[in-house]
């Protein structure tokens, strides 16, 4: 279809950036409600433009052709006899998708007017060239954060706790060993006492021959034996010799160590 349109608008043709742009031009020119586009008219006009472009030997970008196909498709769907919608099936306006896209495009098209206005205004604001200020490298400034400080404290305390846990484990191990050795010392002492002899502590556990730990354990063992009433202990002068004397009634006790807990 040839029309005045073809001639009047040829100049503008190459200015259309894309199919949406062209559609918008048509919608505005015809004062069409975007929500109710008369698809027959618009498709016709759109195709007119395309053929005008062809006549002018303009390269028609593929996007324009895709839109033409879309418009024709919508048109054919609009022309189909309306049938009763099936239950559960919504009647979808074939134009809906196009309208949505057009509206989305419209937002930015309007926005570009705003941008152009602002640019025009602010291009009138002039800046001053910087003055020459020599660079001086100042002392190093520390970059620190309170939170990191807190984290460091927490982790130091955590590490410390783990270390202490470790130490107390070691202590426990030592104490366990001690227990075993205390048991054996008690046995040892009772072994001697069985013979009904008075024991001289320094003969049994002399710190010159035995380790300090052993002497101490030996002393504990001696106290243990006294506590259980199997022997009595005497020391005649301060720092003098310590004697252990077996008590008669327990002389032959078979199981004297029972008072020390088993593990």
């Amino acid at each position: 279809m040839k029309s005045a349109l073809t001639d009047a608008c040829t100049l503008k043709l190459e200015n259309f950036e894309g199919p949406f742009d062209l559609l918008f031009y048509l919608i505005e020119k015809n004062q069409i409600d975007i929500y109710d586009i008369p698809i027959l008219e618009i498709t016709e006009q759109y195709l007119d433009y395309l053929s005008a472009m062809q006549e002018l030997d303009l390269d028609i970008a593929s996007e324009f052709l895709v839109m033409a196909a879309t418009l024709l498709h919508i048109k054919s769907r609009m022309l189909l006899p309306k049938r009763e919608p099936l239950v559960e099936e919504e009647m979808v306006d074939p134009r809906e998708e196009l309208i949505i896209k057009l509206l989305e495009y419209k937002k930015y098209k309007e926005c570009s007017k705003m941008l152009a206005d602002r640019e025009k205004k602010w291009s009138g604001a002039h800046f001053k060239l910087p003055e020459v200020i020599p660079d001086i490298v100042a002392q190093e400034e520390l970059e620190v954060s309170p939170e990191t400080l807190r984290m460091c404290m927490m982790s130091a305390l955590r590490k410390y706790r783990d270390k202490m846990d470790d130490v107390s484990k070691k202590m426990k191990r030592i104490l366990n060993q001690e227990k075993v050795s205390l048991r054996s010392k008690v046995k040892e002492i009772l072994g001697f006492l069985k013979n009904g002899v008075r024991l001289c502590f320094s003969k049994l556990y002399n710190h010159k021959e035995k380790s300090r730990l052993e002497v101490a354990t030996g002393f504990l063992a001696a106290l243990e034996v006294v506590r259980t009433g199997q022997a009595s202990i005497h020391q005649h002068v301060d720092f003098g010799e310590i004697y252990l004397t077996p008590n008669e009634k327990n002389k032959n006790d078979k199981n004297p160590v029972s008072l020390i807990e088993d593990e």
Binding site: E17, K113, L115, K121, P130
Partner: protein
């Protein structure tokens, strides 16, 4: 350095000498106040520049401050004959810029989906003019480049930050926005 007045004097000297935008932190450091206080001082100063008979105004761009002549005095400043004027943008460029500005970071595919037309050339022009820049790659198949607006964009269009972009007419078609795939 005592009063606010003295502080304002120092700030004016700083901004004048710098010419370029001076970051808030730098101003705070020099005037010896924390950033929060400095921000209040700057807002006050901005108001003063606006509301006294001055030929210059104080602009905020991305938390930095810069003095410039009032745009409405352009006709006089032009007469100095030393000012180069930059070329305006094409309609395509504004449109594309608007899509980037409101949706950043965006892929080229996203822009093209909205514009309905190939946007490679126009996008490259915007990058050339330093209004748009690549800011990384999307985490979708093909790892397409992502674009966002630059500080120059804020300067050219007189925004102090992206928050100042006027809202788009969203309420008209609320459901659409969700329907547009992110690339």
């Amino acid at each position: 350095m005592g009063s606010i007045k003295d502080t304002e004097i120092i700030i004016e000297a700083l901004l004048f000498a710098s010419g370029d935008p001076v970051p808030l932190e730098k101003i705070a450091e020099i005037i010896g106040h924390d950033k929060k206080t400095t921000k209040v001082i700057m807002a006050n100063l901005q108001y003063k520049y606006q509301n006294t008979p001055r030929g210059i105004l104080l602009r905020e761009i991305n938390n930095a401050y810069q003095l410039c002549t009032k745009p409405e005095l352009d006709e006089y400043v032009q007469q100095l004959g030393t000012i180069r004027r930059k070329q305006g943008l094409t309609p395509q460029a504004y449109e594309t810029l608007a899509i980037v500005a409101y949706n950043q970071p965006v892929t080229r595919a996203y822009i093209e989906q909205i514009r309905g037309v190939n946007s490679d050339g126009v996008l490259m022009k915007l990058v050339e003019r330093n209004l748009v820049e690549e800011v990384g790659r999307d985490d979708t198949p093909g790892k397409p480049k992502l674009y966002a607006t630059t500080e120059e964009f804020l300067r050219v269009f007189g925004f102090s930050s992206l928050k100042e972009l006027p809202p788009l007419a969203m309420n008209e078609i609320p459901e659409v926005y969700e329907n547009v795939p992110m690339d």
